[in-house]
């Protein structure tokens, strides 16, 4: 489904690359974890596979088609959902409006978008009262859950998440991981999670570790 072919990335000088010749494959129906120390380039890699940036070297293929050809905006709009570590919700909207906005941008085919969004929000513990509140009035954990639901509701085949459980308590964190597993296995979606939490990594079907500028399959 998603392949990286000889992908390399660096900021200023090629000599100071974050990684080079990365060849990874991600498949539908599986949940992947990318582990690595802080500053190792996990989030940068995530931004490449999320279509927020292009690699300096190599290519990323989605369904065997280059992201350059698909177009980064089209790729983000139609194929990939991103869950940011900092939630990145629109602060002037309610939780529900944030989800509906994302669904609208991604041209979601859901007949009743509002009901679908409210159901998904309820699944992560955000009831209708909370859902209609401005997101700035919600706690960090609640905002993270809203960000997760926003990604799930777009019904994209690929979901990339940057530390999605970083702001959640242990119980909620487990619930979210279980939800990801369910979505990946039952809905045949590909979920790639950048994390430094071993527990989250353990729940994934495959784990890559970014170490010494190389990706190693550790599980």
């Amino acid at each position: 489904m998603l392949q990286t072919q000889e992908v390399g990335y660096w900021y200023k000088n090629e000599d100071e690359f974050l990684y080079k010749n990365v060849n990874l494959t991600f498949q539908r129906g599986k949940m992947y974890a990318i582990l690595g120390a802080s500053g190792s380039g996990k989030t940068t890699f995530l931004s490449l596979i999320a279509g927020l940036d292009l690699p300096k070297a190599g290519e990323i293929l989605y369904n065997e088609e280059s992201l350059k050809k698909i177009g980064l905006r089209n790729y983000r709009k139609n194929d990939v959902s991103i869950i940011f570590q900092a939630y990145n919700l629109l602060p002037y909207m309610s939780a529900l409006d944030n989800v509906l906005t994302a669904m609208s941008i991604s041209s979601s085919k859901q007949a009743d978008k509002k009901t679908y969004a409210l159901e998904n929000l309820a699944n992560v513990g955000i009831d209708e009262v909370l859902a209609t509140k401005n997101v700035t009035q919600l706690s960090g954990g609640q905002q993270q859950r809203v960000a997760i639901v926003r990604a799930l509701c777009c019904d994209h085949e690929l979901i990339v998440a940057d530390e999605p459980t970083g702001n959640l308590d242990e119980k909620t964190s487990k619930e979210i991981v279980q939800l990801f597993q369910k979505v990946a296995h039952e809905q045949q979606k590909c979920i790639i999670i950048v994390t430094h939490e071993q527990e989250v990594a353990n729940a994934c079907d495959a784990v890559y570790e970014l170490k010494n500028q190389r990706f190693e399959l550790v599980k």
Binding site: T43, K77, F84, L90, P91, I105
Partner: protein, 509 residues
């Protein structure tokens, strides 16, 4: 349409920013609307001015050509005054020109003189009577010679200066008395009876001055006799059709010569004035004046009219001075209003662009999130544009209700300035006196009193005062268009920043 919903939500959440944008936009639109209404009012006033004033064209003998002809006919270096002659205007030619398009009204003039007959005595002083009846021989001779020259071979006899020794009355033969500027300006007015009109052609009806009527105990319907200027034994009986009074005081010359006294002016039909001039003057007039309905088409009218006349003998003198006088302050106001519109619009674009640019800097994060969700940059720009447009609509409503007030205040000040300026200019230039400009025509020129036919500066002043500033739907529509244009430019200029933004950079910083 998701971007519109986002725009509405954003505006609702950021009330302070929305209020600021509405306030700034309102200020811009109020001044633009004020400019537009003033400009529109000035244009309307100009149109009205055209309709009310028109422009006049006078057909008369070509004095310049006659003078040249006089010079050519003599061998000496200085012209022989005796050889100077003017060909009277053919009535038929004058009527052909009157039939041309764009003629709003026209009038003919033939001036002559007459002596007092039975039933009337001119207004005069004792010494004046002496002067008129027993003038010095040298003077009399000189004037009689000039008079004879003027009357010979069918010339334009009857210039007032030519009749100063023997005539008691100046006879102004007109076609429509009300067209004379003395009457249209209110200097003279009919106090009883009726004015001379086209119906009086070929009649001996006359309109006389009130003082003259009172002194001779004459009323409307009464008759009196005047003598022929060439043959005192020949008399004509005139019937008083109307009596007028004039506020014109005359001048020192009027104290010495009866016919120059404004009270001794008799208004008759041009046909009667011709009768006094003799048989040679039949079918002729001194001049004809045409008031045009559209001053802009004056050149076309003159070109058409010149094809109908012998331009070596006759000339067409255009006079749109009143129109031009009226136009100048109105044009100044319109021009100033246009400048207001342009300046405020440009300033508006700059101010709004800066505000939107500042707003965009604050909203980089929001833009980054939207772009990361796959939203197109164009729709992000459209969202900001929608926000500006919503503010513009609010501002438009505010401007519609307050633009009228501002427009009137600014417009009133402008008009006052222009009126004062116009009055000052007129004062500096001096009032037209009897012997200069307008007066020249009165004093024996071919136009004679006809030169006074047409518009006056009084009408110009009225038009300036009458500037009606009010907000019309047309201005609101224009304002909305300008508002959209201002919004568009401010957003386009600001969106350069949006187009350059990369979601990764925004979200990672």
């Amino acid at each position: 349409m998701n971007f519109i919903k986002r725009a509405a939500l954003s505006m609702k959440a950021k009330k302070g920013r929305t209020f600021l944008l509405c306030a700034v936009f309102s200020a811009i639109l109020i001044f633009v609307l004020a400019g537009l209404t003033i400009q529109s009012a000035a244009i309307t006033a100009t149109e009205n001015a055209k309709k009310s004033v028109g422009a006049s064209v006078t057909l008369s003998a070509n004095r310049e050509a006659a003078m040249k002809k006089s010079q050519d006919s003599t061998t000496s270096t200085k012209p022989d005054p005796g050889s100077f002659s003017l060909t009277p205007v053919s009535l038929a030619d004058a009527q052909k020109i009157a039939a041309l398009d764009n003629v709003k009204s026209y009038s003919f003039l033939a001036s002559s003189s007459a002596g007092a007959g039975d039933g009337i005595t001119p207004i005069s002083t004792d010494s004046e009577s002496e002067t008129t009846t027993s003038s010095t021989s040298n003077n009399e001779q000189a004037v009689n010679e000039g008079d004879e020259q003027a009357r010979g071979d069918g010339q334009m006899g009857g210039g007032p200066m030519a009749m100063q020794q023997q005539s008691d009355f100046q006879v102004s033969g007109v076609m429509d008395l009300s067209m004379l500027s003395d009457f249209s300006d209110g200097i003279a007015e009919i106090t009883s009876g009726e004015a001379i009109s086209e119906d009086d052609v070929e009649t001996n009806n006359v309109v006389i001055e009130q003082t003259l009527a009172e002194a001779n105990e004459l009323n409307v319907g009464d008759t009196f006799k005047v003598t022929d200027p060439e043959d005192e034994t020949k008399t004509y009986e005139l019937t008083i059709k109307g009596i007028y009074k004039t506020s014109e005081n005359g001048d020192s010359m009027g104290m010495q010569f009866n016919f120059l006294n404004p009270a001794n002016t008799l208004y008759t039909s041009y046909t009667f004035a011709n009768t006094l001039k003799g048989d040679d003057a039949t079918g002729t007039i001194d001049s004809a004046s045409y008031t045009l309905s559209d001053p802009k088409a004056m050149d076309t009218f003159v070109a058409s009219a010149e094809k109908l006349i012998d331009t070596d003998s006759f000339s067409l003198q255009t006079n749109d001075q009143a129109y031009q006088q009226m136009l100048q302050p109105l044009n100044n106001v319109a021009s100033f209003a246009k400048n207001i519109v342009i300046l405020v619009a440009v300033a508006g674009v700059i101010i709004l662009t800066l505000i939107v640019m500042m707003t965009i800097r604050e909203r980089r994060y929001e833009i980054g999130v939207l772009l990361s969700l796959g939203e197109s940059r164009f729709k992000v720009v459209l969202q900001f544009f929608s926000e500006i447009i919503i503010c513009m609509v609010v501002a438009l409503v505010i401007a519609t209700f307050s633009g009228n007030i501002v427009g009137n205040v600014v417009g009133e000040q402008l008009i006052n300035q222009q009126s004062q300026s116009a009055q000052q200019t007129e004062t500096n230039q001096g009032q037209p006196d009897k012997m200069g400009g307008d007066g020249q025509q009165r004093q024996g020129g071919p136009g004679g009193a006809m030169g006074r036919i047409g518009a006056s500066s009084v009408e110009a002043a009225e038009a300036i005062q009458e500037l009606n500033i009010s907000v019309q739907p047309k201005e609101i529509a224009l304002l909305a268009g300008l508002g959209i244009l201002i919004s568009f430019f401010s957003i386009v200029l600001s969106s350069v920043g949006i187009l350059r933004l990369q979601p990764k950079k925004i979200l990672t910083t």
